[in-house]
Every structure is written in structure tokens, then in C-alpha cells.
Subunit: 209 residues, 4 copies
DNA sequence: CATGAATGAGCTTTCATTCAT
DNA sequence: GATGAATGAAAGCTCATTCAT
């Protein structure tokens, strides 16, 4: 829709192509924010840098976001769904490899986003953000618990461990990959970690079946 | 020499409480820094605040520390030894309770310090600090590994898990206590977590012995 | 002197002001700096004062100059060419009046700038600036020497004095005008000084020719 | 009141040595101030540095001087007499060598003091100091003028130059020695300068007598 | 008297945010 | 809408001066 059409119409709302460009700018700013936050930390990155990295002026930054904080919030909201791990399929042959591949799939995505490194800083800085993050982690946790419950129903897992604690452990371990396991090109060797997690979940006899 | 002794003597001696008092001020600043850093985050706390929280003027802050960063370093150095877990004793009856009490002992101390929450922020902000922290974590890790090895020699632990990964997992799980387990007065219920960690370490038949 | 030269000497500006208004602000800052430096001395003037004298905020000062020192450098460089005296024409009737008018022309300009009063302070304060100033003075000195040499070739000047020392003397005397000779409105009576300088240069018989 | 009286009257305070010591401290502070002012400039030197250079505490500095400015004033007052050049003796054989030796004597002393480099900075900074300095220079100037007048009475000097201007020129030239003439160990070769000054004073025929 | 720790005003510099162009 | 110059609050740090010991 051309600008001319715009004038014919009510003349209040910006038209489609404008919205599209605007959306692109917004996206560019989000992406620049993400990259710089991860590279330098949240507090060490300022609006001007984000704008110039996105190829726009500072003023433009403030057209799309009220401030840096709001951009951060948007980033988290945009990406928060990706934090959810996939629903595991418990009928499998080699649970250790299977788990490793699930983690690989999931955490390669999270690592691409990379925001998780910022969370501790943000938690202290901004209680509202802390709430959003806590909610997201709760979702992840619940998803893991629900997966574990299904396995439990099938009698696949240890009977004596508290599921919440096991789920928490899985989440925490997955979020804290030792440097040692990060290979070249950011590839991570999840296999050893997967074995540890499997130990928490499955009694050894399961593997023999 | 106590201040009381001072008064007994001929008059008012300008004895040596100068250094003592100065050290007290330094300690007060360190403590204020610690408290505020934990409460508000490292970046959100400034020298003026630390000084006034410690009941001194800004200039005094700069008499004892070149800047906020150096205070942080001092805090870390003062406390870094406490991060080392005690050497566990593997001859025991109830490993789960035992482990829980070891963690309780150790982490109640760390939580009193509370600096560990700041580490992720500092890692991004200050590479030099990141090195110090990494070195400290390596020490902790090595200590855990060495404990595990002793247990391994006694044939107490699973044979199929990589000790480094298990040690890492213990460290990470111990550092990330779920809120759920934090009871009133900051007391933490380590028992469930201990059970999880024991599962990583000991095969079930060990418990029957 | 072109901006290109500027950059070579001073370094990189925080941002290169592109717009006309920006240039005007920069000029206003330079002028305010000049006036205040002369009025109160370099050390007694701070960035805030310069900014508010120029009618802008402190932040604006730092948009155009990294600090007070750089502003001073710019001032010096902007004006340093004016320190060079004109090449004298030795074929004349009344050398004393002629010299007086040359000095008048030249030093009225320098006094308008007024920065020369600051130089001694700067020499002690800033070795790099001292070098720039020394280079400028060397230029002036060389110009005088070259003028003297031309006169020497024509046999117009005393044969027994060292030209370097005479040139230095001329420069120093010209830079240090006695208060007594400063009349109202900053007008200076150079005639007596000119006579003194002429005595250093020309033997009396020259005047009779 | 003699020091002896002191003891008779009060008999409590350790009179003699302390006053003496106090004077020594004052002298040490003055000397340290002088050295540091010359080395780094007036504004660049602070009370603490002066004190520690003199081997006393800051507080002690403020016992003897209200502030840095007062120390500077004292320095100037203490040394101002030395700025006065000796009365020249106009009956001589080789005026150029004679003048050179007079300057040598006199300015080696001034250079030992070295404060003259600070004057321009102080003139702008402190009008009251400016007055003191102006008065001192006036004294020097008057002394030179009076010397010139005696020579004039003997018909030894050019008749057509203004004595004030000649005296000023001598003063200014003597105060501004070109680097070139400063030899190793701070020794200055005054001979060439002396020739220049002699040219201002004596007609050539005088030398033949 | 001497000391030097403590003070806090004041200077430099940065940066989130606004606004004239 | 987009721009980036301008703003000024606020942080970092210094140093002349005071004062308890």
C-alpha cells in the first residue's frame, strides 16, 4: 500500500510498508541488543551502541523502546518459548544418546540466544524481570516434571527420588555446561552429561531392557 | 593494650589504636560493600553508597580501596578459601544424611558470604576477576574429584561415570539450591538434594552394606 | 591551518562536527575557553565554566573536546600561525618607525589572542604542549634570523653580534612589553622599544644613509 | 625575649631545641615547597606532597602555613631581596666580560631559587601575589635605572635611548635566557647576551677608551 | 605540638533521554 | 518518522583542610 493510499485513508495509522520497515528496525534493534548484551553484559551496553550497531540513530531506539530495560524484556518475551525443552519420548533404545541429542537440540538453541548468561545480573537489577524469568524457569521445570511423571507412570525411573528435585537438577545441570565439554565452534559434547542425568533418572536395570 | 589501660596511664597516650581503628574502617567498608553488592548487585552499587552505609565519607572509601573493583577483589580474596568444601570422610553409615550435613556446613558458610550470586555478573564484566573466580572454582572441583577418587579406590562409587563430570555436577547442584528448599531463616533442607547427589555417586548396593 | 592538520596534531575528536550549528558551538566553546583562560588562568578554569560561558551544557563541551587540554591545544593551533612575524622589508627610510609599525601590526594581533600570557603556565604543566610551543617559537626565531641574514648580506647590521642571540633578544623583547607602554584601549606605544631593537640591529651610520 | 628567659619563666616547655626545631621544620617545608613548585608547577603541587617531601605530616604543614598560597608568599618574601642585582661599577676595562660576570653572579643565584618560572602562573592566579611580584620587579628595574643614570652622568651611554626602556630590556633579556646558552650543569654562557646588552648601553667608542 | 585518618566540596566524565531540525 | 546534537543528573575520584588521638 502506497503512501498515497495512506492519505486517502483515515490518515492516522502508519501504513503497511511503513509498519514492515518499522518492524524490521525493531527486529534489528532487538538483535543488536541481544548480541551486545551477550558480548559485553547488560549494564556495559548502552542505547547508543545498540542503535549504531543496528544502523539507526539513538533517537530511533527510543521510538521503538522506552529504554534499554524494555528492549531486554522484549528479548526475553520473544525468546522465552524457546527455553521450553521438547517433550521427551520415553520409548527408546539408548536413553543416554537420546538424552544427549535432546539436550543438544534444545541447548544449541538456547546458546544461540545466549541470554541465559545475563539472567543473574538481571535478577538482582530488576525484580520485575526477575519475576518473568522465574516464571519461565518454572515453565521449564514443570515441563521436565511432567515428562518425568509420564516416565514414572511407565515405571521407568527411580522410585525414591523427589521428582521436583530431580527436575531441578536436570535443569541446573543443563544450564551449566562445563567449559571442558565445549568443543570447537561452540559444539558441546553432551554425552557425558547425559549419562549423569540418566543416572538420576533411570535405574540401571532399565537399560538392560 | 586495651583502651582501658590507656586511661589508667599518665594521660592520653596516642598509642596504637590508630591502625586498629583504620582496620576497623576497612572492615566496615568491606562488609558494607558485601551487603550492598548482594542486595542490589555490583553495578547498581556505587562507592558513595558503600561509604555512607559504612558510616564514612567517600574520601575514606578511596583511602582504603582504589575503586569498587578492588573492594570486590578483596572480598573475594578474603572469602575464597571458604569456598573449599571439607574433605569428606567416606566411612559412614548413612551417606545421604552425611552428605546433607557436609553440604549444610559448607554452604551455610557460603550463603552467609553470599557473593556467589554476584559471580555471573562479574564474569561478564571483568576478565581479570573471571580468572580469579575460575581458579577458585577449579580448586573446589579438584577437591571434589580427589574425594571421589578416594571413594573410587574403595570401590564405593559407580564405575561408569566420568569423575570430572560427576564432580562438576556436584559443584553446580550445590551452588544452585532451589528456592523451594530454602526454609525460614535461610535454613536450607539439603536432604533431598543430598539424595540426588548420592545417586550420582553411590550405587544402591553400597547402602545395603 | 586545515582540519586535516588539526587532526594530526591533536588527535581524534570525539566526533567530527558536521553541521554548521555544531561548528558554531565548537567556536563558541573555543572562544569561551580563550577568554576564561586569559582572564583566570588555565588551571583556574574548568570545563563547566567554559561550557556555561559558551551557553551550552557540560555534556556539549565533551562532545567537541576530550578535555580542557585538547581545547587549549586547538586554540594554540588555530592561532599559532599568527605568531609568525611578517617578513620585513629592509629598504626603508626610517627604520625605527618602520619597525614600530611592523611590531604594532604583529603584536596587536597576538595581544588580541592573548594566549601568550598562558604559555609559561602551560610549559610547566604539559610537556607535550611545551613542545608545540617551543616549535612555534623556533619558527618565529628562524623567521627573524632569516630576516637578519638578508640585512646582513646588504651590510646593514652590526658585524660583531651573534645573529641567533640578536634574534632571540628581539623575540623576547617583543613578547614582554612593559606595562608602561600600554596606553588606553590596549594600544601599545612601540616606538621606544623599536628604537632599542634598532640599536641591536643597525649601526648608527646606517641611519644617515 | 631570649631563650634563657623562657626557661626562667615557665620552665615547663622544652624551649630552646623545640623552637629551633620548629624553625627547621618551617625551613624544610619552605624548601620542599620551592623545589616541588619549580619541578611540577604551583598548581600541580599539593600540601601533602610538600609535607611528605619535608618529612613531616600534612597537619604539620598547616601548623606553619595557613595554606599553600601562604607558603608561596613566604618563599617570595624570603627570596625577593636576592632578585636585586648588584650595583655595577662603571669604571672598567672590558665591559662585555664584566657585564657577563655580573649577570653570572646574579642570575646563578636567581636560577638557584628558580621561582621566576612560576611567576606567570601566579600572576593570573592571585592578584595579591601579582602585586608583590610587580613591586619586586619594580625594585629591580629601579636599581638598573639608577645604575644607568650614574653611567649616563659619566657620559658612558647612548644619549638617544629612553633609560626606562633600556632598563626594562636588560631585565627582560636577563630573565629569558635562551636554552642554547645553557651549558651542562646549568652553567650559562652569558657572554653573547652580555654583548647584546652592552650594545644597548654603550656606544662603541666607549670601548676604545 | 605532631600526626595522618577523615571529611566533603568540587572537578571530570559518562550516558539515558529529549527535542529541534 | 528519523536524526544526532544537546542536556544535565549522577558517578568516579581528588585534595585542601580539619580534628581526634
Amino acid at each position: 500500500m502506497s503512501e498515497h493510499d495512506d492519505e486517502k485513508l483515515i490518515g492516522v495509522y502508519p501504513s503497511v510498508p511503513k509498519q514492515k520497515r518499522a518492524q524490521e528496525k525493531r527486529q534489528a534493534l532487538l538483535e543488536s541488543g541481544r548480541v551486545l548484551f551477550i558480548e559485553k553484559g547488560y549494564e556495559q551496553t548502552n542505547a547508543k551502541e545498540i542503535a549504531s550497531h543496528a544502523g539507526v540513530a539513538v533517537g530511533t531506539f527510543y521510538r521503538y523502546f522506552t529504554d534499554k530495560r524494555q528492549l531486554m524484556m522484549s528479548l526475553l518475551e520473544d525468546q522465552i518459548d524457546k527455553l521450553l525443552p521438547p517433550e521427551p519420548n520415553w520409548s527408546f533404545v539408548d536413553p543416554e544418546r537420546f538424552f544427549a541429542s535432546v539436550m543438544e537440540q534444545h541447548y544449541s538453541q538456547i546458546n544461540q540466544i545466549g541470554l541465559h548468561r545475563l539472567l543473574p545480573e538481571l535478577l538482582l537489577k530488576d525484580p520485575q524481570l526477575a519475576d518473568i524469568i522465574a516464571a519461565a524457569r518454572k515453565k521449564v521445570h514443570d515441563r521436565i516434571v511432567s515428562g518425568l511423571k509420564k516416565a514414572q507412570e511407565k515405571g521407568l525411573i527411580w522410585g525414591d527420588l523427589d521428582l521436583d528435585t530431580v527436575a531441578w537438577s536436570i535443569m541446573v545441570l543443563s544450564e551449566n555446561i562445563p567449559e571442558r565439554l565445549v568443543k570447537s565452534k561452540g559444539q558441546v559434547d553432551y554425552y557425558e552429561l547425559s549419562k549423569v542425568i540418566c543416572r538420576l533418572v533411570f535405574p540401571p536395570q532399565i537399560f538392560k531392557q
